[in-house]
């Protein structure tokens, strides 16, 4: 394919030859000719020709969007256990599927080895179909093998949307597939819509967006993927209008799991993977689990986080006691992780973990924008800081300006008296 010169109209002005970025056009006597081997169909010449003597190269074959249907969730498992985010995405995918149409299904894609038992869990959390891809070569995640079999599955079954958890694996896997499928991918989404009316509802509630230009009755059901950018200072909603599947990675902890429905079932489609040992170019020699206690910040109801205001590493001793007292988990600002006071697995924020506990205690945390991006959707934020001007107070539901070393012990002391204090205050 290339542009076409209409010989009758060509006047031999040479403008096109000077404007071709690829030197594909030359003059043969009084006529321009195109070297098809060099022409990249950029069509730059078409607009330049004063005599309309150049016909644009035919459009690249449009992707037939209607051939793609259903929502897939990459149900990431490690060592035969589903990641929480997979269940969250099945819940979210189910909602989105029904917003597209009654007959759109949410399907879980399970890749691994010896993982038959996981299909049931996917069904209980809302999956209507499970694609099962198993092979000993797929036991542990490798980019090469997983990408190959996922591409095979996508080509065969053509999903409309594919959702991945934005885990260390999901963020390795999804971009590779997007590139192989030549489709768009939006990273680290925190909100998804397919329906414009629901998008408007979301925008009105949680954003400053002017929604007057959006048509609530629009029949558009393309995915609208909202994500933070610039360290959470700006939000953008991204669409993928011309290619399929539409793909997103979604931050763990932001979507809601469904209540599991015991005994739920659905169809299991087994896909025989076309995979050979030679396809895998890396060797996993060892998988090392951190000896440190696994911090499950995303599941915690209460998080007690320490920041630079602790003064030094020993400050986390108090935070640990505090967390123990209130039944919470220890979190940290990036500053403390960078200073080596605590392991990065405790880090909350844009580059750490996104959390939304019922109560977030920010102790000696000033509230850098990256930190706020990772915790500002917590139900209740309690900030304790010496500096009354700290930005953390802008998002706090309860602010305490004071010395955390004096305040926290008092909170611990009164923690069990909440009911009595509340009743006394409301008499």
């Amino acid at each position: 394919m290339a542009i076409k010169i209409i010989n009758d109209k060509c006047k031999g002005c040479t403008i096109c030859t000077k404007n071709c970025p690829f030197d594909a056009l030359t003059m043969e006597g009084k006529l321009a000719v195109c070297d098809e081997a060099k022409c990249t169909n950029c069509n730059a010449c078409v607009a330049k020709c004063p005599f309309e003597a150049i016909e644009a190269a035919p459009e690249q074959e449009e992707v037939d969007l209607s051939a793609y249907k259903h929502i897939w969730v990459f149900a990431e498992q490690r060592e035969g256990k589903l990641m929480n985010v997979a269940l969250e995405l099945i819940g979210e995918g189910r909602k989105l599927a029904k917003d597209i149409s009654e007959d759109t299904e949410v399907c879980a894609v399970l890749i691994g080895d010896g993982i038959d038992h996981l299909a049931q869990e996917c069904f209980e959390y809302g999956a209507e179909k499970v694609y099962m891809i198993q092979d000993p070569l797929l036991k542990n995640y490798t980019t090469d093998a997983y990408t190959k079999v996922m591409k095979q599955a996508i080509d065969e079954y053509k999903p409309e949307i594919v959702l991945y958890g934005a885990t260390h694996i999901g963020r390795d896997f999804a971009p590779r597939i997007a590139a192989r499928c030549n489709t768009g991918l939006t990273a680290d989404c925190t909100h998804l819509d397919v329906n414009i009316a629901k998008y408007i509802e979301f925008a009105k509630k949680e954003t400053t967006l002017d929604t007057s230009t959006l048509d609530p009755n629009s029949s558009d059901t393309g995915i609208k993927q909202t994500r933070p950018a610039f360290g959470g200072n700006l939000m953008a909603t991204i669409i993928c209008p011309r290619t399929r599947p539409q793909m997103s990675t979604v931050r763990p902890g932001v979507m809601q799991k469904r209540e599991p429905e015991k005994g739920a079932t659905g169809e299991i489609v087994t896909i025989k993977p076309e995979i050979k040992a030679e396809d895998i170019h890396i060797t996993i020699k060892n998988i090392v689990k951190s000896a440190k206690e696994l911090v499950s910040l995303t599941d915690a109801d209460i998080i007690c986080s320490g920041g630079r205001g602790l003064g030094d590493a020993s400050g986390f001793e108090l935070i640990e006691k505090f967390a123990k007292k209130v039944g919470g988990v220890v979190g940290s600002s990036r500053a403390c992780v960078d200073a080596g006071w605590i392991d990065h697995s405790h880090q909350v924020g844009q580059t750490g973990t996104t959390v939304k506990p019922k109560i977030y205690f920010a102790c000696g945390i000033s509230g850098a924008i990256q930190h706020l991006a990772g915790m500002q959707t917590s139900d209740i934020i309690v900030a304790i800081n010496k500096d009354a001007d700290a930005p953390i107070f802008e998002v706090a539901d309860f602010g305490i300006v004071g010395d955390l070393y004096k305040v926290i012990p008092e909170i611990m002391k009164e923690w069990d008296n909440a009911e009595a204090l509340f009743d006394a205050a409301n008499k």
Binding site: P21, T143, H168, P175, A187, A236, I239, I282
Partner: protein
């Protein structure tokens, strides 16, 4: 044959310095410094450490961006890179990650024509302005190279043929072996990047600027129009209403007020 290392780098606004204008709800970008993206700095350091240790290693930093991104490339050269290459053209402006990886692919192919085969591609895990972590793996895909992301420890064999890395996971790490050529994305735990040095600042510098024509990229695959993803809307998050500052004569009084407040919100 020299061992060619390509470091993919991006000039980014220092997001720590960005503030929101509370009146208009827009970003204040004036006076915000542009910096070499943090993770990319770790990628460059890895490349320079290989160059320190072995002969005949050539480190070339490639970037895509507006002409002022040259400043960032000068910084890379001043730290010890052999050359900086900037792909700069209006035709590639507005590219999403897919389109960006097409442009970088074309740039690296052009590089290979001019300077020889690439043996190792290093990139930062993600850029702090977009946080996508996508361009590295997408470049690897274009070249069919094996990739390892989130590299937090790196060793290369003396024959420069085998790389052993630790890939960071949420709950530990994986020990991975991979042969060169390959693509790795680096994170801050990997190393402490060096500063610029006199030799680098005053030494022979080569900053090359290539436009879309130079890299012979298919214009249907780069730029805003060609990008599969588009920005539908952008906005600032709704500010959360300011809460209550608890006051009292003693810390205990404040703690009691907090307990009453938390109980009132039904969270305990």
């Amino acid at each position: 044959m020299a061992f060619n290392i390509i470091v993919c780098a991006k000039q980014v606004p220092d997001t720590n310095e960005i503030r929101i204008n509370p009146e208009t709800g827009t970003l204040i970008r004036d006076g915000v410094p542009s910096i070499l993206n943090n993770d990319d700095n770790n990628a460059l350091e890895t490349a320079l450490e290989i160059k320190d240790k072995y002969d005949d290693v050539v480190v070339s930093v490639i970037s895509m961006g507006p002409p002022q991104a040259q400043d960032m490339l000068f910084e890379c050269v001043a730290k010890g890179a052999d050359r900086g290459i900037l792909i700069s053209d209006r035709a590639v402006g507005g590219s999403d990650t897919w389109a960006t990886s097409n442009a970088i692919e074309a740039g690296i192919k052009k590089f290979e024509k001019e300077f020889g085969k690439v043996n190792l591609i290093l990139a930062g895990r993600q850029a702090i302005d977009g946080d996508t972590a996508q361009v590295g793996p997408q470049i690897a895909e274009k070249f069919g190279l094996p990739q390892v992301t989130y590299v937090e420890e790196f060793k290369i064999s003396d024959d420069l043929k085998t790389v052993n890395v630790h890939r960071q996971m949420e709950d530990g790490y994986e020990e991975i072996e991979v042969k060169t050529p390959c693509m790795l994305t680096c994170i801050k735990e990997l190393n402490d990047p060096r500063y610029m040095n006199m030799k680098g600042i005053f030494g022979e510098k080569e900053i090359i600027i290539w436009n879309a024509k130079d890299i012979e990229v298919d214009l249907n695959k780069v730029g805003l129009e060609a990008s599969p993803t588009n920005v539908f809307r952008s906005f600032t998050p709704a500010p959360k209403g300011k809460g209550e500052i608890l006051e009292g004569d003693t810390e205990n009084q404040i703690a009691q007020k907090l307990m009453i407040g938390l109980k009132g919100k039904h969270v305990i």
